[in-house]
Amino acid sequence: MESLSKRSRIMSARRVMVYSALAFLVLSLISTAVYYFSGYVTDPARAFFESVSAFSTTGLSVFPRPSDLPEWLRLFRAACQWIGGGMSLAVLALIMSSPAGDSMAGETPETYYRFGRSFRTAFRRLVLVYLSLTAALILLLIATKLSFADALNVAFATVSTGGMSPGPVLTSGLSETVVMLFMLLTSISYPLYYYAVRKRSKKLEKNTEVTIYLGLIIAFCVLVSASLVLSGTYSFRESVELGCFQTVSNFSTTGFALDDISGWPSFAQALLAIASFVGGSSFSLASGIKVARMIVIVKILSRSFVVRLHPKAIVSTKLNSVQVPRKMAAQMSTFLLTFFLFFAAGSFIISFDAPDLQSSLALCASSLTNTGNGFSFPSFIGTLNDFTLIIMSLLMLIGRMELYALLIPASGSSS
């Protein structure tokens, strides 16, 4: 009896992963058809790349000048990103509503256990946050004198962490600051907004992940800006503005870029790459490794030092003031290794079509972390061959689905 129920749960975990991956693919194919028949993209592989890039909220684009596109197509791109963000929320809701001990819930921090009693409530709560953030950003952007269409374009790309540029529409420093703020907001754990509204202050106080995330952002903003100031490329004010914007853009894996970062000092570039790898906090719309995992991984490392000296020492690993079970910690560290395995393999395949090592690594990182334009590679996405574009599309999907979706066929049917 028990084995039977376990079995059905296993099936459901796998089925859900497969369904989500399929949903991403089907929507991408529909959108591919739209691009193809619109006549603006003549090559199906390119259209597919553009579609996956939007749904996975990556934001790389085969259009060199998006402002040349007709209004409807730009809105369509933005809407795809926004729907992609919503689908990612569905995956998160599913993970959070899985019963503890279920393999799907494997990496859910205890703070978020039973965020919703069922998938439906969890999803509804997350979407509520999503809608509020989107609406607020649209209003604020209109208040900073953007046209309604531009405001929609920017808001959809920002709140979903897609980061596809609708063209140079952010003209004022104020609108840039608003976008930066919302990139930050959407990369913070969504359940916290719900708790804040419901006045569950205990849940908020215990959340060390967000505190550390904000600390990291401030530290990186200071370092990146300082590096820009010292390099003398920009004025002091521009350096701080650009440095902070780009840091938040990369941490939230949005990938908006106000200027070409390939001319920035390599120290700033290296920090921005690390920011993208780390990503935002867990159960937000940011992609990447996630701060929660990094916290646990750093604790595992410091534990490994203690154990070298005191083999019998018992060191607890805490996240959000709660003990992390061994199995969960193990899954988180395996995630990191898996992530870098995909990074290595992806870079190797991309290197067949890239002009140098740096762009192979950057293109792969940009796809796998769903960041998009926060890395420095020449803007030649459109000149890459179809095979490379499809590989990059796969990497985007793998990154968005927290890696494991595409491991399902590889792990065999040993159940």
């Binding site: 296993i10 799907m104 494997g106 390599s266 490392l301 070298r308 395995l341 290197s351 090592l357 192979s360």
Partner: protein, 488 residues
Amino acid sequence: MILNKRPVIKVLMAVMALVGAAMLIPAVVALIYKETNVFLSFIVCAVPMIAVGLIVIKVLPPGDNNTLKMRDGFFIVAMAWTGMSALGALPFVISGAIPHFIDAFFETASGFSTTGSTIVGNIEALPYGILFWRSFTHWLGGMGVLVLTIAILPMLGIGGAKIMRAETTGPTMDKISGTINDSARKLYTIYIGVTVVEIIFLMFGGLNFFEASTHTFGTVGTGGLSTHSESIAAFGSVYVEMVIAVFMLMAGINFNLYHYLFTGKPGIMLKDPEFRTYLGIIFGSTAFISLMLLVKNIYGSVGQALRYAFFQVVSIITTTGYGTADFDTWPIPCRMLIFLLMIVGGCASSTGGGAKVIRIMLTFKLIRRGAQTRLHSSAVRPIKLGGKNVDEDTLSNVKSFMILYLMTMLIGTVIVSLDGYDLVTSLSAVVATVSNIGPGFNLIGPSCNFILFSYPIKLLLSMFMIAGRLELYTIYIMFTRVFWKGNK
């Protein structure tokens, strides 16, 4: 005091005296080539080191407690390697061959850690005695001066078991013999044997004794410092290249396996899963790279392509770093593969560096298991290697090592990028030093050197070389609070 001072000092003094004694050999070389100045600079360093070392060991009365704890072991190993590199740098400075101390420290750390990164541009301009010392540090570092000291430790009345633990490279599943002293003796008998054979082979290829021995030191220690700027390409001989390639390949194999080979149990060696994977990676990568070289018309014939590809693959995976061709001009996928091989490294208990083949194998198995546990909440299945279950403690050690290695790469790149060179140069500088390779890519490619970095970065890279050689933990642990806090 958290350290058992007296035996720790004794061991360190013994190491110092040994390094001093080792300097007498390049002194003799300098004398033969009539380099008086160089000869004197070795003597000036060697005599005080030997004298002080021996006197301190004699004068220090034996304490009541001569046991070495874990903590002492880590401290000795970390101090010994750093101290050896600092003292070994002195002849470079005194003779004026490398005037700045940090440059000399970098060069010596590169030697003892068997890395092979150099800051010298015009190598041929260096005197013979200095060139010999550069290569000889590889040989000493290769097996670890400490393994040698283990053999003389009984004379100091100190057991060496704890040191061996910090020193051995990579996880191993079995010991070849019961006592540490025995296995140390066996290991270095094999080591010396291999060295002598290679020198003879190279001399058959027309190299003089000086060239044959220096390049042998670089080979069996998997170091890679050559006496020529063009490295092995300077000889232009297929025979020499193949001899060196085969010996590099041998140096990258777990030395414990040779014991089985010589005691008539070659089956154990051939069935060893790490050994087989190692060979598989070498032949697979060689096939891929030579194919790419042919397709892209870098070399005209299959023979040429195979010759350069095989040498470079072996040189990189064993973390030696000798060159017969500038791989930084090869097609991008070849470079990417070479970059990945730099991370893999040789087998456990070989003289090679890197993450080690066995750890990469276990990492793949861990990733596979991770995917399975994501789908099945059922009990964790054991991971097997060569038919045996690998215990969970070893696995979590492997995991934390790999993560520490990745973190070193990422954070190291950020710091090195402060010098303002491009990211590939910065990243490959970290990988080339932590993995003990030698050359990297772009500005530090095979035809360039490390002189361009600022002094603080050179010090950091030297530390990475030593840390990489000592499996990261031994050095990093010195910077943790838990190390300096006493036992409660």
